[in-house]
Amino acid sequence: MINLTRRSAIAAGTASLASMVLGGPVDAQSRKILIIASSQDIPNFDPHIATGYSASMLLRNTYDSLVRVEGNPPNPVPHLATSWTVSPDGTEYVFKLDPAAKFHDGSSVTAEAVQYSFNRLLRLNQGNAWMIQGIVDEKSVQPVDAQTVRIKLVKPFVAFLQVLPWVWVVNPKDVEANKGSDNGQTYLRSNLAGSGAFRVRRAEPGNLYELERVANAWKQGGGNLTGAIWKITRETATQRLMLQRGEAHIAVDLTSEDMDAIKDRPNVVSVIEPEYRTFSIKLNTKHGPLADVNLRKAIAYAFNYQSLLDSGGYAKLMTGPLPDGIFGHDPSLQVYRTDLAKAKEYLAKSKYPNGGIKLSIAHVSGLEQQRRWSLVLLDNLKQLNIELDVKPMIWPDMVALTRSPEAMPDFFCVYQTANYGDPDNIAFAAYHSSRNGNWQNPVYANPKVDDLIMRARAETDEEKRKALYGEFQRIVVDDTPDIFGVIEKRKLALRSDVQNFRFTPVASNAIELFPLSLR
């Protein structure tokens, strides 16, 4: 019989607890699970509703599209479609599908599924629908046979292949079986109907999403990952520490300070690359004092671009409306740089030669960079005897202000990320008058600019297209609808045991798992 005293029982309990406590967790490496630390949750799995980089990460790994985007600069490469042809006028595309492509339930990915997916995206008119809105309608996508699909564009659109990576193909059988009264939105919000190399194994909203490689996936090859975990880590400092400690393999939301802190750390690789993400300050060109182009020019010259850059971390100044590196960008474009003499010269030509006015700027509350840049502007405007009212606001309220020129403040801070690697993305969204009333282009309208944008998106000859964008950039700079700010560099870091990572300046933090390996 064991004589167990209270003291010995406590000692035994403590010892066993200690042994448990000191026992480490199971090693993730044995299963080759890649852990990505990110601050963004994945609120919706529906490929025709969800947007944002976290959802894009999930979708690009669990669904397939006709083409993928790869490289720097980004190029469309075969995916579900093994090949395609384009008609000489650029309005008709014929895609040959990979006969091996299978959905997760084992059924084939057919031309009908492609047609169904395009039409569902158009019908819901959410998510990435804007990318093909007005370019494709419900009659455009027609199956030729089970493995061939023809897409006839409503009007020519040179960047069509660039947007296709973001049009996901769903399994019609699966969606129809769970269609409900909302086109399957309730079902697809938390279920998948895709053909991607991975599927969701575990979803803990607000905490983590675990993907596992689909057994017998149609697409062979790729890296050795058996799964991946998207770990929601709000604090970027914690993301950094997780990376340093090996608890995460990739951290996607690091700040400039974090990047400085991990510089030269063992087993950590920094990725600081220019991306098509711009910050600019939109001006109210239609209502109020800034409707005066000379006043806009005066302010553009008075602005301290060096201060903007200094407080921007890893960034570079924009030269015009298009981000550096994108097709058609003109690096030699003459843009505004700080010149107080010229600022005063233009102010004298304006309706407010002595200043004496009060303007307002709205920025997103909580975004420190935007606050700092607003203060830079406040300081610079004092030199023109102009006061500035800085209004921090939450984003939905800011968006509501852009509905009319009267409601819009004089200045409006905007980050804009290109969703596809073509100048049309930014040119059309941010400068075409059909986008007025939208946050990307609340008020700016110039018929000549509209014409250039529409001609450029239809022009198949590269040189001519480049010339059109050159003209577009010169006119926009002269109109001064924005204070062109900075292009922020993408900042992410990975462990050195992550292999085959290739940076692409489009959706670079929506990590594509298929090619990656863990050593």
Binding site: G23, I33, L208, R234, A400
Partner: protein
């Protein structure tokens, strides 16, 4: 006593109704348009109107409130505008995580704070007292998020003893969900290893969270004990030759606990409402983060749900404290 308990429980109902009315009114009357945000920047006015109709936000406010309150009773706490998930389902996941953290922190604070306060009082103006005063002052002054970062650097980065954050190893499946408390669920499933791992993950956030109540409890306990020790009846007991241990634990401790209990009751509610910083630093998927995200996006159904839950727990914890007064102090009778 039974009548008192019943009366207090019945009184909770109008308090909760008042709370729901207040929170609902504030959440709905704040400037900003959550529907606009949820519909997305490219939504047309017609799509925004459709979404408002879907969530019943096109109806008059009194009707919206009535629908909400009747839903509360039937278990329908509304839906998040953004995730479209049921708030009640979300609360089932996030609330146990936060409660586990808060209860562990309070357990540690009481376990250490009461003996520390007693010791400081007994050894007044001697080194244990000085030490407890310095530690309490430091603990109460240090911001929790900063302490959390220090703990992470010390125990996770330098020493490597404990994980940086989270509730359970990412690559392992947690114990089957029964209560949502991983410590309890791991014991229910008989998995002692999982229990040990859960404690590992709890250690740093619970410690970061416990310091503030620990300091307050220590100081409160010290002050109450010193006051009691100076009472005439303690002198009498000493004169009668009772042992110091008997006097301290039987006559002083019980009386000194009354004031400390009030603090403990208040702290449970305070910690519940203030977990967000610790949850952020340690990636603890709890109520604080859930509520913060909802507040930032003006997703008012989760905001109201969280407020009502925290308010409810606050009320219950204070009711328990009130009842404990009667048990601890025979002078406090409720009949």
């Amino acid at each position: 006593m039974l009548t008192y308990i019943l009366r207090r429980i019945v009184l909770i109902i109008p308090v909760l109704i008042g709370l729901s009315l207040l929170v609902f009114a504030i959440a709905r009357l704040l400037p900003g348009d959550p529907i606009q945000l949820a519909a997305g920047p490219n939504a047309s006015p017609a799509e925004i109107a459709d979404l408002a109709r879907e969530f019943g936000l096109d109806k008059p406010l009194p009707v919206q409130y009535w629908n909400y309150v009747t839903g509360l009773v039937t278990g329908d706490w509304g839906q998040s505008i953004f995730t479209r998930r049921a708030v009640a389902e979300d609360l089932k996941v996030y609330l146990p995580a936060t409660l586990e953290l808060v209860f562990t922190a309070m357990f540690l604070a009481i376990l250490i704070g009461i003996p520390a306060g007693l010791t400081a009082a007994v050894y007044r103006n001697r080194w244990p007292d000085y030490m407890s005063r310095v530690v309490s002052l430091g603990a109460i002054s240090m911001p929790r998020f900063f302490l959390g970062l220090l703990l992470q650097i010390g125990f996770a980065m330098w020493l490597g003893w404990l994980p940086l954050g989270g509730r359970f190893p990412l690559t392992e499946d947690p114990p089957a969900f029964v209560t949502g408390f991983l410590t309890i669920d791991s014991l229910i499933s008989g998995d002692l290893r999982a229990f040990g791992i859960t404690l590992q993950y709890l250690a740093l956030p619970a410690f970061a969270m416990c310091l503030s109540p620990l300091a307050t409890i220590t100081r409160m306990m010290r002050a109450s004990t010193i006051e009691i020790l100076q009472q005439d009846y303690v002198l009498t007991e000493r004169a009668l030759g009772l042992s110091s241990r008997l006097i301290l634990f039987k006559y002083v401790l019980r009386n000194a606990m009354s004031a400390t209990l009030t603090v403990i009751g208040l702290y449970v509610g305070w910690l519940l409402g203030g977990t967000v910083l610790v949850e952020t630093v340690f990636d603890w998927p709890g109520l604080g983060l859930y509520a913060t995200k909802a507040i930032v996006t003006q997703d008012f159904m989760p905001v109201i749900g969280v407020t009502i839950v925290i308010g409810g727990i606050f009320i219950i914890s204070n009711l328990i404290v009130d009842l404990l007064y009667g048990i601890l102090n025979p002078k406090v009778r409720y009949e």
